[in-house]
């Protein structure tokens, strides 16, 4: 992997960005959602022959900006100027029609159709009423050849690798004669070799005059292809620089903006030697193996690692959501037998899913019903009938305790902001009197202010003696909030580090599977 590479060590891409009038310019863009200002006064421009990176933390507004450029929704205010003319796109189709194409991270291909059919979907060459299959195939082949990709246009998309799908998406964009190409995390699921191929394609497109907006968290890779970089933070524009004139450190500093101390509350809980949760030899065949860790009273334990390293899977297995093949879980000295989430919940465990809407909330149901869902026994009588006075009292108690902003306890939770939704899930588990809470990416897609509130709650829980495990892909969050970190790599824990004595670099080292940093060379 590209760990440790910096801009200076890499050969720079030839600077071919033409000066002069930008291909695409966004002026003073603001976008408001109910309760959230996603973008405030952001300006951005893209030239021909240029790869322009957009960087920022989660929630910085990158995706919102790209959706405005590609016509998914209009800005609340501000101007889009494309090829010198002010434009308003009512839909992605309109943006595509004038040559602005986006390649989403979650690829938008139809799995049961062939490569050629996908490239020309809804634009099939026709002969009368019928599709001209020969022309369809030939045109698709020409597109793929132009990219230098060896994919058979007749293959079904579901048989392709992720990288090949990405190439098909790019071919589709080319077939649209796209002049602006937006790539959202294009390398996140590619191997190094596939990344090489992608970069070569990007070089060729750039030479052909296409302007490319490149979104990635992998700053180390950018040196090879990026000409300019724009940093967003909390929905605001921070800076635009020539990549050659800046450094990875400078970009990171701009992305984070504040020092860690300001982003995270002061920790009040102190770790003790009292073990709440002990996990020994936990194994789920083919997913993770031999997971050992201990969670102590008063501490926040971090789970760090790359996507797919097994952090979420371990938490889900401990919680009984997925089966295990071996290993033991001991809570406060009692060994647990967990076959389903019901067993785990009864024992006092709680898992807060990384995907709130799909796995955490019954989104059509009101606040109070979600809050009490895991502990209905507490608000019902022995005949199984709900005591609505107790029910409302419980909901109000946790709305106050966690400062949840909702117009009423009967508000459907889908109408609340992400931060308030997350607090409702926390409230649900506190009402269940859970002893150990696994927070899986608890601040994903949440406003900066709400993040701070969630961190503060986590600290208070730990101080009260509740076990807290924080699963996070954001290393600043791990460093800012935890006492110790278990680092995962390929379904194993490769290191357990004291947070106070480690660094992003050391954690990434273990996460990449290199073992101890000093045994590296």
């Amino acid at each position: 992997m590209g760990y440790g590479q910096t801009a200076g060590e890499q050969p720079r891409a030839p600077q071919s960005a033409a000066q002069g009038e930008p291909l695409l310019a966004l002026e003073n863009i603001t976008k408001e959602f109910p309760g959230v200002k996603a973008l405030q006064g952001v300006s951005f421009n893209l030239r021909r022959h240029e790869v322009h990176a957009v960087c920022g933390e989660n929630g910085a507004g990158k995706s919102t900006l790209m959706k405005i450029i590609s016509g998914v929704f209009p800005p609340t205010s501000g101007r889009i100027v494309y090829k010198g003319q002010p434009r308003q796109f009512a839909s992605p189709l309109e943006a595509e029609a004038v040559g602005i194409a986006i390649i989403h991270q979650e690829l938008n291909l139809v799995p049961h159709l062939s490569v050629a059919e996908n490239i020309y979907l809804a634009r099939e060459p026709r002969r009368g009423f019928l599709i001209d299959r020969r022309k369809l195939r030939a045109d698709a082949k020409a597109c793929l050849d132009r990219l230098g990709v060896a994919v058979d246009p007749d293959r079904l998309v579901r048989e392709l690798s992720v990288a090949q799908c990405q190439m098909v998406e790019i071919a589709k964009a080319l077939s649209l004669n796209a002049e602006v190409l937006i790539m959202d995390e294009p390398t996140s699921s590619l191997t190094e070799q596939e990344t090489r191929l992608l970069f070569k394609v990007i070089h060729d497109l750039k030479a052909a005059g296409v302007g490319i907006i490149y979104i990635s968290h992998r700053l180390d890779e950018m040196a090879e292809i990026v000409d300019r970089v724009t940093v967003l933070r909390d929905g605001r524009y921070v800076a635009t620089d020539d990549f050659a004139m800046t450094s990875v450190d400078e970009i990171v500093a701009r992305m984070v903006g504040r020092s860690l101390e300001e982003k995270f509350p002061e920790r009040t809980s102190r770790p003790t030697s009292d073990v709440i949760l002990a996990v020994r030899g936990l194994t789920r065949n083919g997913v993770f193996s031999d997971i050992d860790f201990e969670l102590r009273r008063g501490e926040i334990l971090g789970f760090a690692g790359l996507m797919g390293a097994g952090r979420t899977e371990v938490a889900r297995a401990i919680f009984g959501a997925d089966a295990i093949d071996a290993g033991t879980v001991t809570l406060e000295g009692r060994q647990l037998v967990i076959r389903s989430p019901r067993d785990a919940i009864a024992a006092g465990l709680a898992y807060l899913s990384e995907d709130r809407k799909a796995q955490g909330l019954a989104v059509k149901m009101p606040v109070d019903a979600n809050m009490t869902l895991a502990n209905m026994d507490e608000v019902s009588n022995r005949f199984g009938l709900i005591d609505f006075a107790k029910h409302a009292k419980a909901a109000r108690e946790y709305i106050d305790l966690l400062s949840i902003k909702t117009p009423s306890i009967k508000q459907p939770v889908r109408l609340l902001s992400g931060g308030n939704q997350q607090k409702i899930i926390i409230g649900k588990w506190l009402f269940r009197k859970s002893r150990v809470l696994f927070f899986d990416e608890p601040t994903r897609g949440i406003d900066v202010g709400a993040k701070f509130a969630i961190y503060k709650i986590m600290d208070e829980l730990a101080a009260e003696g509740i076990g807290v495990v924080l699963i996070s892909s954001e290393l600043p969050e791990i460093l800012g909030m935890t006492d110790r970190v278990c680092v995962f790599h390929h379904g194993r824990i490769t290191g357990v580090l004291e947070t106070a004595r480690t660094s992003q670099e050391e954690i990434m080292h273990y996460a990449s599977g290199y073992g101890r940093p000093d045994s590296r060379h």
Binding site: N58, T64, E185, H217, L219, A358, G360, S473, Q504
Partner: protein, 347 residues
């Protein structure tokens, strides 16, 4: 590498369009169904003098019982995100089993009918197992049951009606509470008040009980939770399989009861009874605002929905509208109400 993070999920999209608040839309839906019910009553009262009478009211109530009983079961199943297509066949099987128990095995009527109802429950158990354990789509599982139950009903009766069941078999379907009969001057009995038919009492009691279960019990809360988000419910400790199974068993049992009531009314068990009743049941739930996506629905709505269908049929009959035209009109009503539902749920 500085950070490894996936792309942030999109900010929750703004709820655009629709100037009405959710509560207003819910009220609109309720009143749309209730309002159309009232409009129907007014129109039919004006066009036919025999419509708005106590006698006809009881007739309608009696006719509506089967739709409403099946609709109550359908509502619970649909709230969990499922569907039950088998109830029309299951009611035929249950009625036939009850009749055969009386005629062939010489059982007392109450026990025979209990066996009929349990036959329906058993069909529900099988549906539930097919859906939760074998993970068949509810549409397919209950479609299979629809064919199987009908086939068994035809097989065990040789496709012939079972008759000669005796007067006591007809008591449940034809009896009534508070029936007032006076003997007139001419010596013939004069019905002052037709009484409240037993099936109507049964329908009201069961509707109240299931409404109580859905609104006030933990089980009901879990039914809504499963339909709103099954995975979130499971991760909150809800026994999703158990809750889902329960709704199919309830639906099957109510189908069994409906079968016994219907056959009792005719004092004859017809293996061909109840064809397409499942569609009336689903339609009554949908007209009453139950969402086929799951998570939304009320018994009061379904009750109104089944009366809309029942009154349409009765009123159109009284006005001499042909059976074919009736189908067209009921079809249009279903389309209209579901369209209103779509408007309500549009984002």
């Amino acid at each position: 590498m500085t950070m490894t993070v996936t792309t942030p999920p999109a900010k929750s999209p703004a709820r655009s369009g629709g100037r009405l608040s959710d509560r207003q839309k819910d009220l609109l839906q309720k009143f749309a169904a209730l309002g159309s019910l009232l409009v129907l009553i007014v129109v039919f009262s004006l066009t036919s003098s025999a419509f708005f009478t106590v006698n006809n009211g009881m007739t309608i109530a009696l006719q509506v019982t089967s739709i409403a009983l099946l609709g109550i079961g359908a509502t619970c199943v649909i709230i969990t995100g499922g569907i039950d297509l088998s109830v029309g066949s299951v009611l035929a099987l249950a009625g036939v089993v009850a009749a055969l128990a009386v005629k062939e095995l010489g059982m007392p009527v109450p026990i025979a009918m209990m066996i009929g109802i349990l036959t329906g429950s058993l069909c529900g158990v099988i549906n539930g197992v097919l859906v939760t354990k074998m993970r068949l789509p509810p549409f397919i599982a209950t479609l299979g049951m629809m064919l199987i139950a009908r086939g068994v009903a035809l097989q065990i009766t040789g496709a012939r009606a079972v008759s000669g069941l005796g007067e006591s078999f007809g008591e449940l379907g034809n009896g009534a509470l508070f029936r007032v009969v006076t003997i007139g001057d001419d010596g013939f009995p004069n019905v002052a008040f037709p009484g409240i038919p037993y099936p109507v009492i049964l329908m009201v009691v069961i509707a109240l009980a299931v409404a109580l279960m859905l609104n006030r019990s933990v089980l009901g809360r879990h039914i809504y939770a499963v339909g709103s988000n099954a995975e979130a419910a499971r991760l909150s400790g809800v026994n999703v399989s158990g809750v889902t199974c329960f709704t199919y068993i309830l639906s099957g049992s109510l189908a069994g009861l409906t079968g016994c009531v219907l056959m009792s009314r005719l004092v004859t068990a017809q293996p061909n009874e109840g064809v397409m009743y499942e569609l009336d049941a689903i339609a009554s739930a949908v007209i009453g605002g139950t969402s086929l996506i799951g998570g939304v629905g009320t018994i009061s709505g379904t009750f109104i929905g089944s009366f809309v269908i029942g009154i349409l049929r009765n009123g159109l009959n009284m006005n001499g509208v042909s059976a074919f035209t009736q189908q067209i009109i009921i079809g249009l009503v279903i389309l209209l109400t579901v369209w209103i539902d779509q408007l309500r749920n549009r984002r």
